[in-house]
Amino acid sequence: MTNNILILKRLDLGQKYLEQLDTAGYTLVDMNMIEPFSIDDKYHHPTSVVFERNNTMYAIRSDWTRTLMNFNSNYYSDDIRFGYFGPVVRENESFYQAGVELYRANEKDMIEAVLMHMNFVEDYAETSIKTMVINNDQLIDLFIEKYQLSEDIRQLIYSKNISELRRVLGKDHDLYKIISAKVSDQFDMVSKIFGDTKAMQAIAHLKEEITEENTKFILDLSFRSPQNYYNGLYFQAFLNSNSPILSGGEYNSNAFGIGLNLADGGLI
């Protein structure tokens, strides 16, 4: 694809996406790329480019989620659903992000937002989402609590270290059986143990709503979001590429964000 086509395709996608959000009642935002920055933010946004002017710290926008959180608390405190499309800078690279942030979101709001994004992608790409991967760190907390496991087990789960989990837990342990099973079998296996928990019920409800038969729905306890501020349910959805077309998750207890991948003109 030539640069012209890539640029035009990205803008077309951005425009159609924002129109979709507008129709769905989201508040659209476009803001200054230079933002006030607290050094405490560095942990969650380590790739932000930070600088100082007149004894005040600033950062170039590196993540719309952080931008929207500041925006929401400072300006439109009554609005709870925001949509955006615009550039961000991380380390030495700039690229475009598009997505939504929902505040005071309940399970129904989150599921609706995920489904709206899946439908948008499938309509635009004229193909179905092939794979959806989901996890919730609270499930690992539940395993640690139920089986009285050491916190060290968390890292072995995240890295899917099957051999070490077998050594530590034994091959008959429920958790070892789950991690070493095919990832598409994990949902049923975890449901048998924690099916009545809020975390699993939210995942089950989303699974029920994804009726497209070509979409493989995967729960994997080892799946990690690249955004380390997600602390509840998070997911990635894939078309045919190895890069996710959608990714999102819960943070700060009741906020929920979804990002649309715009690399290579979007919808890769």
Partner: protein, 201 residues
């Protein structure tokens, strides 16, 4: 089709022997014949032959779905992948070594300075580290360093150069790593291969 990145060298030979032990001759025979090329395809598997430190790069970037690599490589550098399983070959260890009668190591040479740094930090031992790309045994012989941190397999190389092992630092063995995305998008083919080579039952 899935892609498996194999480390060239000793680990490659060990992997071929491992395949033979599992009677997976369809792979081992082709790999033995083709190891001087860049890649080869057997059924649904494309094997690519890479330098050890490049294997995690291929896997992290999704060029390869699976990698067979020494744990020395993945302990030294930080990559993002699934660290799925140890494999029962390629066993050796990192050691602190030097000429006999060294009472205190002030300067140590190594190709693996991150592993060495971690070890000396754990020991709360202030040491100056020098990074070398190979033949680290030369460093104490020529007076560049008091000792070395390096991989020891049989100990013959140390003995041949008049060095002795002072401390075992870390066990090393082959590991199977996997890309974080294609583990989902190519699940069936990946699990079939993992099962075939005995990583999962």
């Amino acid at each position: 089709m899935i892609t498996v990145a194999l480390s060239k060298g000793r680990l490659f030979d060990d992997f071929v022997s491992y395949l033979e032990k599992y009677e997976l001759y369809k792979y081992s025979k082709v790999l033995q014949d083709e190891s001087r090329t860049l890649y080869t395809i057997v059924d649904n598997i494309r094997f690519i032959f890479a330098k050890g430190p490049d294997v995690p790069v291929y896997v992290e970037r999704g060029v390869a779905d699976i990698g067979i690599v020494g744990s020395d490589i993945i302990e030294e550098e930080v990559f993002s992948y699934l660290n799925v399983s140890e494999l029962p070959f390629g066993k050796c260890h990192f050691a602190l070594a030097g000429p006999p009668n060294v009472e205190h190591f002030n300067t140590v040479a190594s190709k693996y300075t991150n592993i060495a740094r971690k070890y000396f930090n754990t020991q709360q031992q202030p040491v100056s580290l020098i990074h070398l790309n190979g033949s680290v045994e030369l460093a104490p012989i020529l007076g560049l360093a008091d000792g070395i941190v390096d991989i020891v397999q049989t100990g013959n190389t140390l003995r041949d150069n008049g060095l002795i092992e002072y401390e075992k630092i870390l066990d090393v063995q082959a590991r199977l790593i996997a890309n974080k995305q294609t583990f989902y998008t190519k699940e069936d083919s990946i699990y079939e291969f993992l099962s075939e080579i005995g990583v999962i039952e």
